[in-house]
Amino acid sequence: MTPSSNPFILADGRKPNCMEMLQLILDGEASAKQQDYFKSHMDTCMPCFKSFHLDMSIKELVKTRCCGDQAPQSLVDQIKMQISQNNPS
C-alpha cells in the first residue's frame, strides 16, 4: 500500500503512528475507509493486532465495571421538589 493511499494521513501531510490510528478505530471515530485500511494493516503489524484486542477489552471492561448505579430516588425527588418550589404553576 503506498503512503498516498493511507486514509489516515492528516491535512498537514503527516502520517499518524500506529497508536494514533488505533485510537480512532477504538473510539469509533474512523471512517469506513480508515477502518478497512486498519484491518489490513493489522495483518502485518503484530503490535497493532495485540494492542487492538487488549485496548478493546479494557474499554469494554471499563464500561461494564464502572457504569455503576442508578441515581438514588431521593436525589431525583429532591431535584423535582426544588424545581416545583421555585416555579409554582
Binding site: L61, V62, G68, I79
Partner: protein, 194 residues
C-alpha cells in the same frame, strides 16, 4: 454552546424540556459526579446543583440539541469552580507539568506494558474501578466521557473546553496510565508474565 441564541420557553415548555430531556440523564450524571468526587454525598450535591443551574439557564439550551453534553459541561464546570474551591482540594499536580511530562518521548517508551487479555478477565472485583479512580482527575475524566458515556471527541472538546487534539492526546496518556495500573494489579494477582 454559549453562542446559542436565547430560547423563549413557556413555563410548560420549560418543564417538558426539564423532564423529557434533562432528567433521563440523571444516572449518568450521578455516576460522573461520583467518579469526579469519589464520594456519593458530594456526587448528589453536585448533581443537584447542576440540575438547578440547568433549569435556571434553560434559555441557553436549544431544544433538540445534545442535552447530555450540555449537562455534563455544567457539571464539570461546577466541579472545577465550586466543588474544588469549597473542598479546598487543590489540583494535586501542576497540570502543565504533567502534560509536558506525559507528552515526552521518554514517557511513551516507559509505558509499554505487555498486559494480556487473559489476565484482565480474572479481574472480577473492583480492580478496574479502583484503577480508574486512582488516576488524576483530568485523565479520569476523559476515560469516563469516552469509554463510559460514549461521547465523541468533538463533544468532549466542548464539554472540557479544550481542542480536539488535546482530547486525543490526553485520552492516549490516560489509557497508558490505566494500563500501567492494571499491569500492577495483574502482577499482584500472581501473573508473572502479564
Amino acid at each position: 454552546m454559549e453562542e446559542t441564541p436565547k430560547q423563549h420557553y413557556s413555563e410548560k415548555e420549560k418543564n417538558e424540556v426539564f423532564h423529557g430531556e434533562f432528567l433521563p440523564h440523571i444516572s449518568s450524571m450521578y455516576n460522573f459526579g461520583y467518579r469526579l468526587t469519589l464520594d456519593r454525598d458530594d456526587a448528589k450535591d453536585l448533581v443537584q446543583d447542576t440540575y438547578l443551574k440547568a433549569y435556571r439557564f434553560i434559555a441557553s439550551f436549544q431544544k433538540g440539541t445534545n442535552a447530555k453534553a450540555w449537562l455534563f459541561r455544567i457539571l464539570k464546570n461546577s466541579f472545577i469552580n465550586d466543588y474544588r474551591k469549597k473542598t479546598k482540594e487543590p489540583s494535586k499536580v501542576d497540570y502543565q507539568e504533567v502534560e509536558t511530562y506525559y507528552n515526552s518521548e521518554e514517557f511513551d517508551r516507559q509505558i509499554t506494558p505487555d498486559l494480556r487479555v487473559e489476565s484482565l478477565k480474572d479481574m472480577i472485583g473492583d480492580e478496574i474501578s479502583n484503577a480508574l479512580n486512582s488516576l488524576d482527575v483530568d485523565f479520569r475524566t476523559v476515560i469516563i466521557l469516552c469509554d463510559l458515556e460514549g461521547f465523541k471527541y468533538e463533544e468532549m472538546a466542548k464539554i472540557l473546553d479544550i481542542p480536539i487534539g488535546t482530547v486525543r492526546s490526553r485520552l492516549h496518556r490516560a489509557r497508558n496510565l490505566l494500563k500501567e495500573k492494571l499491569t500492577h494489579y495483574a502482577k499482584s494477582m500472581g501473573y508473572k508474565n502479564v
